[in-house]
């Protein structure tokens, strides 16, 4: 077992524990936005796609694969964050409106 792999396993373990701890209690109101937001974060595979492109060394099939992968991942990231924001904007604008009345 090389140490890089063991390190990576530790990172995996701690990351999972962190994820389990982060959302203990969620009001049902936020289930949909939270799912949508977490979903956008899972688009972090942009990093993997970028790595593939950068390390392609000019190989066209690899460039294409990486680029398509990047497109899918960014569709997930950009779309996910924007749509979550659209949902949450509806909650947060309420107090401001009320003061105007």
């Amino acid at each position: 077992m090389d140490s890089i792999f063991v390190n990576a396993l530790w990172v995996l373990l701690l990351g999972s524990l962190l994820g389990l701890e982060l959302i203990g209690k969620v009001p049902p109101t936020l289930h949909t936005p939270l799912m949508s937001g977490a979903n956008a974060i899972s688009g972090i595979t942009v990093l993997a796609a970028l790595t593939a492109i950068i390390k392609s060394n000019g190989s066209i099939p690899l460039l294409v694969l990486g680029s398509v992968s990047l497109g899918f991942a960014l569709f997930n990231v950009i779309g996910g964050f924007l749509v979550t924001d659209r949902m949450l904007a509806m909650f947060s604008r309420k107090p401001a409106r009320k003061e105007n009345r």
Partner: protein, 473 residues
Amino acid sequence: MDFLQYAIDLVAILLLALGIKGLSKVRSARGANQLAAVAMALAVLGLLIHYLGTTGISSAAWTWIIGGTVVGGVLGAITAQRVPMTSMPETVALFNGCGGMSSLLVALAAAFFPAAFGASGMVAVVSIVISVFVGAITFTGSIVAMAKLQGWLSTPAWMQSKARHFVNIALAVACLVAAVDLIAKGGMSVQGLWLLVIASSLLGIGVTLPIGGADMPVVISLLNSYSGVAAAAAGFVVGSQLLIVAGAMVGAAGLILTQVMCNGMNRSLVSVLFGGALGASAVAGGGGGEYTNITSCSVEECALTLEAAERVVIVPGYGLAVAQAQHTLREVTRSLEAAGIEVTYAIHPVAGRMPGHMNVLLAEADVPYEQLKEMDVINPEFPATDVVLVLGANDVVNPQAKTDPNSPLYGMPVLDVQQARTVFVVKRGMSAGYSGIKNDLFELANTSMVFGDAKKVLGDLLGELKELGVGKK
């Protein structure tokens, strides 16, 4: 230079964790989402800085990076802006599927060009196998979930039968065979790779297709968790710790969220995944039968009763959202409030199509957040309520869930609307709800049915209330 990347990565991870944490509180949610977006941008920046400082980035690479960014980003932004709020569950499924597809493609790239990634040896092959398997299931499963929610796809009859279990088991075995083949040959098995891609894609379809519409949100949440796992596996493939942490966090958080949702619907994850559609078992398991003793009434009578009420509770359901009637509803409640009538909204945990979906829809129609009450809060208040207006909700107000142990709904938490003085149920016809189960509420003496499309009924109701002079000073 490496120090800079580590620093950026650390900050990015910290912000991502804070983002997920903040998303679980109403007040901080919007800022938390933006924080997570910033973290993502930082992570990308850190990666680019790292490679600029070491190997450099060729101009060909830049071209393809910009190409992929523009196409994916623009399509994502357009989709996010255009999609109506009612289709939110489908949209999340679509985005999620694309995330899975991205992990799948990266893993394929690493499998075909191991030299480029320095991805050789046991660890790399196992990561590739996991990434392909989970990524493919996430992609096809999410697309099927989206198509089913959009009504583009219905479940073929044989998929409802027990036969599907054998098909799925056969597919799972095929995945296992392909995985073993790949690992044994150190990743050098093109047939094994394609078998894995095809079998896991089909498995994603086979598992998701039989699941009923009402359970779909749970499945989408679970698939969301899978896409985190796929991302973490891709992190092992390319050797990115940031990717591993973020993927693991989303995977674990998604699992918790799935569990919370299951609790809200009183369904176990196992029964959602393997039990098939709720409606299929309903036919066999009692609770059916014809309606007798239905009282229906006109919109005018409904308006007269509302005018005399002091406390009104609205129970919105998916039917309201489908009819796009939330804005008309808001006008009706405005005029009631202007007449000094206390109006609250009872939100069942699974109102709409996904937990929290109804809150989003009502917020869109400008309903004050404080007027939305959760089930546990509102249930004790029904006996002191004059009028309950049920709009396009069905199963969540079915008293059978508490009274009839033979009912398939038995044990599901429901809103006790029947305890109110008068209940009006606005419904298009006597057709069954999601679960296909008869609703005993409709036959009770204090229940009156108002037949019609929710938007039209509410429009008429608004007219009647105006004629009565409700809400005008």
